[in-house]
Amino acid sequence: MSNVFTIDGQEIPFEPGQSVMQAALTAGVFVPHLCYHPEFRPHGSCKLCTMKVNGRPATSCTTPAAAGMEVENNTTEINDKRRMLIQMLLVEGNHFCPSCEKSGNCKLQALGYALGVMSPHFTEFFPDRPVDFSHPEMLLDFNRCILCELCIRASAEVDKKNVFALSGRGLKKHLIVNAESGRLADTDFAVTDKAAEVCPVGVILRKRHGFAVPIGQRTYDLKPINEQVERFKPVTPATKEKV
């Protein structure tokens, strides 16, 4: 009864222990996010789910829901900031959608559409980043990495392999794989890994599977991302194991 807060005036019930994000998704409220995934521990790095909780900005995936909270989500002020965060990610990497296998199924792109991002706005960084084609079944195109760490968490928490990690700092932060050679082929990564399927953008890709779905029928061709809220389902104990 008392476990209710509001998002943009709408009452949102929650269970104790749920985050604002979890409660919002359970209620079918769209919350832009890239680094959040219901099966992994949230860490709040992309900042797209930033809301105003009782007037103060907070990352909704790491903020515990509390009774009586007043949360602002879908407002001009917040969406302006989110748009700029998308633009920051766009100029930081090399995001050329026309030649990307993930186009149409990419969350970064879909959020760009949902938030009305018409341009990268800033000066492009055009970083020089590698592509790892060493693995027989998978490829890594680091040009598109947004550093959400979903693959890292999937590999550590679900696959128990720790195939991925981060190195470098600041703008030089980058994804690495667990091999002295630095090549994916020299890790125990497998196409069946959870980490192989969680990349929200076009970094971790199956070889020989690009452009399989025709334009017009891809995930976000069918419906915009804000109309495809992945309703939050409590994580099963098997995947919730402590790491």
Binding site: H43, S45, C46, K47, E92, T123, I146, A165, K173, E180
Partner: protein
């Protein structure tokens, strides 16, 4: 016979018991022994500590002072704080590079030497400063540059260089209760123990958490004094120390830690360096008092990598305290009062001054600030309740333990008890350390330091506040201007735009990269400042600074990202003409040098006709 790399590595690994939590020390000592951290070395370390290799590589890749490629047998890093800039470090660095035939950031072709810049090394009162193989050298001059280049070329070991170069002065200009205290080692602890009443003294020092609870009033009596004193954290945020200690003391769990934050990375701050040089006993004693109060058995000093030279002296002090029964088991004969302190050396990462990032680093990981809650007082080092306080806070706590909370509270102002150490540098005749009771005005400090024609003071470093001359009547106190201690003075000859630009570069270099707004935003701000600074700026770019800043202040993960725009916003507010006079026009300018972008094609085609050039402005 020289030892093999394997032997050297194994020695290091053994010394740290192949414990992943000690990874930072393992990496540092391995690098000191082997010169750099090769892929094979990383693999070997990962194997021996039982960590995924990528995680070890991730830690090694995070810190500026670890390198995964050879950086030369001599690595010279020029401190690049604005105060070093004002003392001419860039010209000196260039002169050094010319003498050594190399470019900044590159290793010489023979693999002998590399020269680069680094964030403020905490020698602002005696710059320009460098680190040579991570050893601090102060007061660089043209002459020293020449001599140093010669020593490097002759491959003279750093240990044989003139000892005077490595002299670090304390430059204490004004002392007060902290710097002038004449307490003997153990005095504060004895006073703390003496606060026990007779019926309580039978209890074990930590008995409150072993079920005796309220009966053991010894430690809580000390805590009461700390609370009574109204001591607030000296690292900048100003959290009430007594409340922090109490929260840790009451947090569930049976292991507790006391951590001293000596990662003094805020540019312009060097007071902890002086405290650790002159008052190491007092600092350790404060930690021990904290341990007694909260029930901790283990403490760490997180010493910034730039203060590597303090490591051995601090270890000697720790040994002396052991010998005197002030550390170790049954301290001062009190059964169960066990406490030990270790020094953990950082490796060049400003963000580790943030307490949760510091803890991550202490655990051998990348220094990424944690999500809070939980706070370190309930889940800190290794997930256990942990008190993290600044060096100066612990020193003050020792004084309070000895002389009582009421005494301390009587010093300073209503909301700011006690004294504050200021690190004064820049355009003053007498740079150095000044200790004042809280409430001192900016003008008084300037007068004492003999500053003239002062235009502005940057207080509490880049993340603090820039104060213009109409504000010099303001006070150093939590009620007005809180500070971690930096006090950088700029006279009227200085260009406040360049000050802000230097700080923008600093934050871009030091952003940990965890969250989008800070990782990208700090670089966007740096680029905008460079665009304006290089004469290509417009009003559009100034508006961009505001926009990017707002996103960072709203959405960044930690204080670094929240405060990184401060120096720009402050100077835009108070010294706007410094920006405006650089603007090319008010409308729009290209983001890059158009004519310069044709240079390569001109060279390759041998063309230099009119069409082979572009006007940069329309």
């Amino acid at each position: 016979m020289p030892k093999s790399p394997e032997n050297l590595l194994n020695n290091v690994l053994d010394r740290y018991e192949r414990n992943g939590n000690r990874l930072m020390q393992i990496l540092r000592e391995t690098q000191e022994a082997l010169g750099w951290l090769s892929p094979e070395t990383i693999t070997a370390i990962a194997k021996s500590i039982g960590w995924p290799r990528a995680k070890v590589e991730g830690t090694a890749g995070f810190y500026s002072f670890f390198h995964n490629q050879p950086m030369g047998r001599y690595r010279v890093l020029w401190s690049d704080n604005i105060t070093d800039r004002m003392l001419g470090n860039i010209n000196l660095m260039q002169a050094m590079c010319e003498k050594l035939w190399l470019e900044p950031g590159r290793v010489s072709e023979d693999g002998l030497v590399s020269v680069d810049t680094t964030s403020c090394t905490g020698m602002c009162d005696q710059g320009p400063a460098v680190l040579v193989n991570y050893r601090a050298v102060t007061r660089m001059t043209q002459e020293r540059v020449t001599q140093m280049a010669e020593l490097i070329q002759k491959q003279i070991p750093v240990a044989e260089w003139p000892t005077d170069w490595f002299r670090v002065d304390d430059n204490v200009r004004r002392g007060d209760i902290l710097l002038n205290n004449a307490m003997r080692p153990g005095e504060a602890l004895k006073a703390a123990l003496a606060r026990e009443t007779e019926q309580e003294s039978a209890a074990n020092a930590r008995s409150w958490r072993e079920g005796v609870g309220a009966a053991a009033h010894g430690p809580s009596a000390v805590l009461e004094e700390i609370k009574k004193s109204n001591l607030r954290g000296r690292g900048g945020a100003g959290f009430t120390t007594g409340i922090k200690w109490e929260a840790c003391r009451h947090a569930p769990g049976d292991e507790r830690y006391v951590v001293c934050n000596a990662d003094e990375g805020e540019p312009g701050t060097f007071k902890d360096r002086v405290l650790l040089t002159r008052q190491a006993h007092l600092v350790f004693e404060g930690m021990t008092v904290a341990a007694y109060s909260v029930g901790a058995k283990k403490g760490y000093v997180y010493l910034r990598g730039e203060y590597r030279y303090l490591l051995d002296p601090l270890k000697s002090v720790l040994t002396a305290r052991h010998d005197a029964g002030l550390l170790g088991a049954n301290i001062l004969g009190r059964r169960g009062f066990d406490f030990d302190i270790e020094v953990h050396l950082g490796a060049g990462a400003y963000v580790c001054g943030e307490e949760s990032a510091l803890i991550e680093s202490l655990e051998g990981k990348r220094g990424i600030p944690r999500n809070r809650p939980p706070y370190p007082v309930t889940a800190g080092f290794l997930g256990k309740p942990t008190v993290v306080n600044n060096v100066e806070t612990f020193a003050a706590a020792a004084l309070i333990a000895a002389k009582g909370g009421d005494w301390y509270r009587g010093i300073g102002t209503t909301k700011s008890a006690g004294t504050k150490l200021l690190s004064v540098s820049g355009d003053v005749e007498r740079p150095g350390i000044y200790e004042y009771p809280f409430g001192v005005t900016v003008a008084e400090v300037l007068a004492d330091a003999r500053a003239t024609e002062t235009q502005a003071v940057q207080i509490s470093g880049p993340s603090g506040i820039c104060v213009a001359d109409n504000e010099f009547g303001r006070r150093i106190a939590f009620e007005d201007i809180p500070t971690a201690g930096a006090f950088m003075v700029f006279d009227r000859s200085r260009d406040m735009f360049e000050v802000a630009r230097n700080f923008a570069q600093f934050f871009a270099h030091e952003s940990c990269g965890f969250c989008t707004p800070c990782r990208v935003g700090t670089t966007l701000l740096k680029n905008l400042m460079n665009k304006i600074g290089d004469g290509h700026g417009t009003q559009v770019d100034i508006n961009e600074i505001y926009q990017v800043s707002r996103v960072m202040q709203t959405a960044a993960h930690c204080g670094l990202g929240h405060t990184a725009p401060h120096p720009l916003l402050d100077t835009l507010e108070k010294f706007r003409p410094a920006y405006e006079r650089r603007l090319k026009n008010l409308t729009f300018q290209p983001a890059f040098d158009l004519d310069g972008a044709l240079a390569q094609a001109r060279q390759m085609t041998g063309r230099d006709d009119l069409a082979a050039h572009l006007e940069n402005a329309e």
